[in-house]
Each structure stands twice: as structure tokens, then as C-alpha cells.
Amino acid sequence: MLDTIDMLEAIGSDASLRYASTVELTTVLEQAKASDALTAAAITGDASHLAQEFGSRRMYDPQATQSFFSADQTPFS
């Protein structure tokens, strides 16, 4: 049986699922017995529902600043 990450991978890699309508995708997920969190996320397009299942953890955007390494090495130190 597929879990949520398996299902997300399947949706992401299948042309029909990736661009299915919300109704179509919800039907597929219900048939596959997807978790409530994933179904809610798919219906709303809001990934925050998945925090119920995976917890919420602050993720920084890696490599957010480059300018200080470009023209001069230590402009602000």
C-alpha cells in the first residue's frame, strides 16, 4: 500500500495525475485510501495540511544570499 510520499511521487511523475482536476485527483486519492491530510492538501492546493502528518519544521531557503561573495569578499564584515 502506498503512503503519502509514494503518492506524491506518483502524482509528480504521472502526466495525467499531475494535471488532473481537483475532482479527478480527489477521487483517485480516495480510491487509493490516501490520508486525510493529503486529500485535504490536494483539494485546497495548500501543502500546510500535510503538517498534520509530517509535522511542521522551519525550513530555510538554502543559499539565499550570494552578493557578499561576488565582487568583494567582505563588504559587510
Binding site: 506524491l8 538554502p62 539565499a64
Partner: protein
């Protein structure tokens, strides 16, 4: 053995091909991109690097994508804990290089996995490859699908039509840059524009007002700009907002969002060069007749 001989050898064997044995004493480094969207963008080659590595270092922006990565290799070490509010990102990036090199020097096959493309807006991946090669280790980068790639697809922009400049937004403030308003302008990391401490992860609307003031030299304040965020999970839709340039200080701009300024001027013909090219055409035509 020549490459062509290698292929002949593999053809004889019938597929599947068997990779040559690795020198297990020598460390190596591959830095790969995870792409932006879970399940959609990871290339077969990058996945193979991940699966074959002894240790993975992960610089990803999504917790669920990181958990997906953990299914591909038993030893995934997140680089996220090295970030800290108030700590210089420069120090964090240098620590990442040290972490990866420590394992390469220990003879491990190391794979650095970064979201999007590992070499775009990414100091550590380029640096660690430079260090590894300088020490005699095999090291290379595999490209990934970046936020920039997604932007072109989701917004229907072709950078070839009128050209496209990309800047980290801070560079527009810290340095005197020449902006060409007849092409697209893409500004990255607007959410923390103007941060000189390297230790903050967001800046206020007052900093974006400084950016707007600088941009207003080349763009009217009512110019429509686009705020864009690519999809990281395949159940999401891209976030696309269109606002007037003057309103940028007053909307929330998370760090993962990118600001696009469409052209505000038409391309100006360069008559002098066109005449010069026409003269060249004429000369070449005359030479071919004679």
C-alpha cells in the same frame, strides 16, 4: 581502453550494462539538483548519484522533499541545522563545504543534493567542487530544474525574445548596476533585500521601498510586476501575483518568491550598426559575384 572499445564491450554483454568497479579507496564528490517539484524533476542520473553515494548532504527547502530523499539513501544528513537566526549565512555555507570535504577526504563517495539547480544562487556547491578538485578528488555537478526554469514555463516568458537580466535583489542596492528596461528583469531574494548583516532571513517593507526607489529610475511606479513562487509539491499550483511596482513595500514577500519586471520600454534600433552590417552584406555579395 578507448571509449568506442568500451561501448563494443558493453554491446557484447547485452544490456543491462554493468558499471566498471570503483576505486573504493578514493573519495569523490557529485553535487546534484533535486529540481523544484517532488516526483517531477529529479533526473535519472542525479537519482543514480544519490542511490550510489555513501553519504548524502541535503540542502533542501521542503521538509517532505527531504523525507523523500531519505528513501533513496540510508545516510542523508540535512544541512538545515547549520542555519541559525543571527548567524552569518557565510559561516553556514563555509561549514557545509567543510562537512562535505571531511567525508570526501575520508574516502567516501559524497553526494551534495540541493533543491532546484545546485549551481544557481549556490555558493557552497561551486566552492566544494573547487576545493575537492584542488585536492585531487574527482568532483562534478549535475544540473537540475531550477526556479528560473519553472518561471519561464509558468509565466510564458521566453528570455530570448527581448533578453532577461537576473540579479540577487541586494545587488541592485549594494552596487551600481545597469538595468535595461527593454528586457525582462528578474530579482531573486527580494524577501530579504537590503540585509547587510547576512544573519536575517527577512527584511521589512522599508527595505523594499529602497528597492522601489532605485527601480523607479528605470520603471514607472504603476508598472505591473509579477511575484512568483514555483511549486515544490505536485498538489500545489504556482503562486502568481501581479501588483504595481509602487505596492511592493506593502505586500508580504516570502524569501522563496521571485519578482519579475516585464519590459517597460521597446527595443531601440541601433541604426549605425545596422548600416555597418548592410555594408558588409553588400561587400560579401559583390565579392561572391566577382
Amino acid at each position: 581502453m578507448l571509449l568506442s572499445q568500451n561501448f563494443a564491450y558493453y554491446h557484447k554483454m547485452n544490456t543491462p550494462l554493468v558499471a566498471p568497479p570503483k576505486d573504493t579507496r578514493q573519495g569523490s564528490l557529485a553535487v546534484v539538483g533535486m529540481g523544484m517539484t517532488l516526483g517531477s524533476h529529479l533526473t535519472p542520473l542525479s537519482r543514480s548519484h544519490i542511490e550510489q553515494a555513501d553519504v548524502i548532504f541535503a540542502g533542501l527547502s521542503d521538509n517532505i522533499v527531504e523525507q523523500w530523499l531519505q528513501r533513496m539513501n540510508a545516510d542523508v544528513r540535512s544541512l538545515q541545522p547549520y542555519y541559525k537566526e543571527g548567524k552569518s549565512r557565510r559561516k553556514t555555507y563555509e561549514e557545509w563545504v567543510d562537512l562535505m570535504m571531511t567525508e570526501v577526504r575520508a574516502g567516501k563517495r559524497v553526494c551534495g543534493v540541493f533543491y532546484g539547480h545546485p549551481g544557481i544562487f549556490a555558493w557552497s556547491p561551486h566552492k566544494v567542487i573547487e576545493v575537492a578538485r584542488a585536492e585531487g578528488f574527482q568532483a562534478h555537478m549535475e544540473p537540475g530544474i531550477s526556479a528560473e526554469d519553472c518561471l519561464y514555463a509558468d509565466l510564458g516568458i521566453d528570455p530570448g525574445t527581448v533578453g532577461c537580466q537576473h540579479f540577487e535583489a541586494g545587488q541592485i542596492l549594494f552596487y551600481e548596476r545597469r538595468i535595461d528596461p527593454s528586457g525582462y528583469l528578474v530579482l531573486w531574494q527580494v524577501g530579504l533585500v537590503g540585509d547587510r548583516s547576512l544573519a536575517r532571513f527577512t527584511t521589512s517593507g522599508a527595505y523594499r521601498q529602497v528597492l522601489v526607489d532605485v527601480l523607479s529610475k528605470d520603471y514607472p511606479l504603476d508598472h505591473e510586476i509579477i511575484l512568483y513562487r514555483a511549486v515544490t509539491l505536485p498538489i500545489q499550483k504556482p503562486r502568481i501575483r501581479r501588483i504595481a511596482l509602487r505596492d511592493l513595500p506593502f505586500v508580504d514577500v516570502p524569501t522563496e518568491e521571485t519578482v519579475i519586471l516585464p519590459p517597460a520600454a521597446t527595443l531601440k534600433p541601433n541604426h549605425e550598426i545596422r548600416e555597418r552590417l548592410a555594408a558588409l552584406d553588400k561587400l560579401e555579395k559583390e565579392a561572391s559575384v566577382a
